[in-house]
Amino acid sequence: MPKHIVILSSLDTKGAEASYLKDLIESQGFKTILMDTSIGGEPALQPDISSEEVARLGGGNIRDIRASRNTGQVTPIMIKGASTKVQELLAKGLLDGIISFGGASNTTSATSVMKALPFGVPKLMVSSTASMPAYAAKYIGTKDITMMHSVVDISGLNDLTKAVLERAAGGICGMAAASGGPVKPVSTSPLIAMTTFKFAEECGQHAMALLEKKGYTVIPFHAQGIGDSAMEELIEQGLFQGVLDLVPAGVIEELLGGNRAAGALRLESAGRAGIPQVYTPCGFDMLSCGPLSRREAGDPLWTNLRLAERKIFIPDEFRVQARTRGEEVCEVAEVVGRKLNASKGPVRFFIPTQGWSSLSSKGADLYEPVTDALFAPVLKKSLRRDIEVSELPMELNSPEFAEALVTALDSMVKKSSAR
């Protein structure tokens, strides 16, 4: 069966360019499905999926959409419709790769549509705004989207735009040729998702080595807000047998508005999936609030939380960490309790009482055991009875602590797979 590549394009203005791309892809032996996502007018080229259909699937009407001058209101309808359609095509086996090209507007909407597709499905966005500050990271989000910077605008067919489209066609065809579709858990060894970051590095490395010795494969995610949200999505895709959430920092950062904020849904997908979870409070001892220039600029985060009055760790201008306060630590304990109580699978929480990270162990810049001590009582009060909280008199980065986490997770995973 031939493989299919979906081309998303605004055919009211990009007909010639889309047609050129379509021919290139078809000349490599692929079928194409051309989807028109334009809101401006009639397509210059006959699409396989019309903008009428896309609008209808998004709950709108193309006539009203074309008449509207408010692109901010109508674009979400087209995104919704196109997302529904690509998921339908994927389910029918008619989508082995997806490609789009354009400037700011089309990049925003096309990457939103690509985000509806699971990890492993080739996604290529050719964008003249790929390098734009503030947007570039949002285009990608937590997804395995490939961004190709076109440098020139893909308007009109000249030697420069042709060269870009030809390379892009080669790229998506190469990827789709061998793609097996969405990644499924095929590994013979069970997969464990683990969050980690610099201030938990030794714990993470030690735990990873121990888990691998026990026959697990560990997939680490950087808990900087994006990596850990990506983990949540991959958990939903059913890839993992257990989670070692060393660094749930994204929850407190979300509460306080720090740089590592991981969204409102962090800490929830593992519970919903019913897989075993092990937690530590690492990262609840600090708030990522760089760059340092925000202090001088009177940034609201700094003034509202009075960060300048706190203990601060400044390794360089960007990675600035402020100590969290007692009431903040208690608040996060309640939020964590609420989130974990919804879990369908087994959960354990381990607290290293001699420091939650390399920054809050004895002698380190954010050492504040009095504040740390407020956390456990609130957490215990907030959690369901059957979720065990263990306080161990050691530092997070000590080998013994990593061993305790791994032993617990291993026995939970074994028990739940025996069931």
């Binding site: 390098s131 990271a137 990608i140 395995d144 308007s155 420069l160 030809e166 990644v183 994006i226």
Partner: protein, 413 residues
């Protein structure tokens, strides 16, 4: 050149990404291409299974492994490695031994690899697999003005799990696909090619201008004036790729002055003047600012605004700013050695400030024009058109001027 004899240069810091780099090398070889693996490790490691070891790279960069090992300045170390890698990559390119470049890295590795990629020409295939691609601010630094294909690995590049292999396989196959196809030589017709900046709020005007010029057989190469696209245009003008410029959206000048998102650097609006090619300047977006939303001050919150979509909001510029920016633009245009025309619409400078919208402010726009008229040298004409930037009448006026200016120059040549 046949596919089989094509070479791919692989870059990685093998002290941290050794197994992953070796995996990529074997995958590329399996696909019938010739890989050359270069090790960019900065910590002065001696042994390496790479084809080009860190010692050779350091030496080419004017440093030695001993020096690197004894230095704790990682910034300096990676600079030396990058400069060595650039030299070696260019040598391989001249010898026709590499036809694509492939990088794999985390934060530091991606930064180093991307710098090497920036030194390679437009059109040369560049793929970077990075676990730091989605971190705010970084992807922009990785790509800059270069035509890099950036692949977000989602998972950390640490350990060859099935997930990471899936990512690396797809990226390698993208390179394979790119090298298999026939790619047009990216050499525009220099005698006639016209560079044009635009933004979506002047898309209609840009489309009409393009159509008219192409009808008169001028190929038009568009650049999105996002700060990086227009920066890339300036660089390509300096390379002598264009015979004229239609700068519909020079807002990057003001954005640079105030440090906002469309900042196009300190030399924006200067290359065409230096090269002496004809330029037509208009004003889309010049009367708006785009600070990062997370950096809005209280004063920004009070400004009139227009939301273009979920991500983009334009704030109206103040009269004082309009005057400052006009002076700066005039100063730059006064340096031009070739002909310049400025064309300004009187009923709003884009679809954002179209009549009826919150930031439509034609009276304030005149402050800009007055200052420009005061500061510009005599031979630069300002034409005001009683229309909105997106009205057909405006494009018509601009096209007429453009065709006249370009014809005059090509008949002189």
């Amino acid at each position: 050149m046949s596919y089989e004899s094509k070479g791919v240069l692989i870059l990685a810091t093998m002290d941290t990404k050794g197994p992953e780099a070796l995996y990529v090398r074997s995958k590329i070889e399996e696909q019938g291409l010739k890989p050359t693996l270069m090790d960019l490790s900065t910590r002065g490691r001696k042994s390496s299974v790479a084809d080009i070891g860190p010692a050779e790279v350091a030496k080419a960069g004017g440093a030695s492994l001993k020096l690197l090992a004894s230095s704790s300045d990682r910034g300096r170390n990676s600079e030396a490695m990058v400069s060595g890698a650039v030299k070696i990559a260019h040598r391989l390119l001249r010898e026709n031994r590499i036809h694509g470049i492939f990088g794999v890295g985390g934060y530091s590795g991606s930064l180093m690899t991307s710098e090497v990629m920036h030194s390679l020409p437009f059109g040369f295939p560049k793929i970077l697999v990075s676990s730091a691609a989605a971190i705010p601010g970084l992807s922009t630094r990785f790509i800059q003005t270069s035509d890099i294909l950036l692949f977000n690995s989602v998972v950390e590049i640490a350990g060859l799990s099935g997930l990471l292999k899936n990512v690396l396989d797809r990226a390698v196959l993208a390179m394979v696909g790119t090298l298999q196809g026939q790619v047009t030589e990216p050499s525009a017709d220099r005698r006639k090619a016209i560079a044009m900046t635009m933004l979506s709020p002047c898309e209609g005007c840009a489309r009409a201008v393009r159509a008219a010029l192409e009808k008169s057989s001028y190929p038009v190469v568009g650049f999105h004036a996002t700060g990086t696209g227009d920066r890339a245009m300036e660089a390509m003008i300096t390379e002598g790729l264009f015979s004229g410029v239609i700068d519909l959206a020079p807002g990057g000048v003001g954005e640079h002055l105030y440090g906002f998102m469309r900042d196009a650097g300190p030399t924006r609006l200067e290359a065409a003047g230096r090269m002496g090619i004809p330029q037509i300047i208009s004003t889309c977006g010049v009367n708006h600012i785009t600070p990062r939303k997370s950096k809005y001050t209280r004063e920004h919150d009070l400004r009139r605004r227009h939301d273009i979509d979920r991500l983009r909001t334009w704030l109206r510029m103040s009269p004082r700013e309009l005057k400052e920016v006009a002076a700066l633009i005039a100063e730059k245009l006064n340096l031009s050695r070739g002909p310049v025309s400025v064309v300004i619409p009187l009923r709003g400078w884009s679809s954002v400030d179209a009549p009826g919208n919150a930031t439509y402010e034609p009276e304030e726009d005149r402050i800009f024009t007055a200052e420009l008229r005061k500061t510009l040298k005599k031979e630069i004409q300002i034409l005001e058109v009683d229309a909105n930037m997106e009205d057909p009448g405006f494009a018509e006026a601009l096209i007429k001027i453009a065709l006249d200016m370009f014809k005059e120059v090509s008949s002189h040549a």
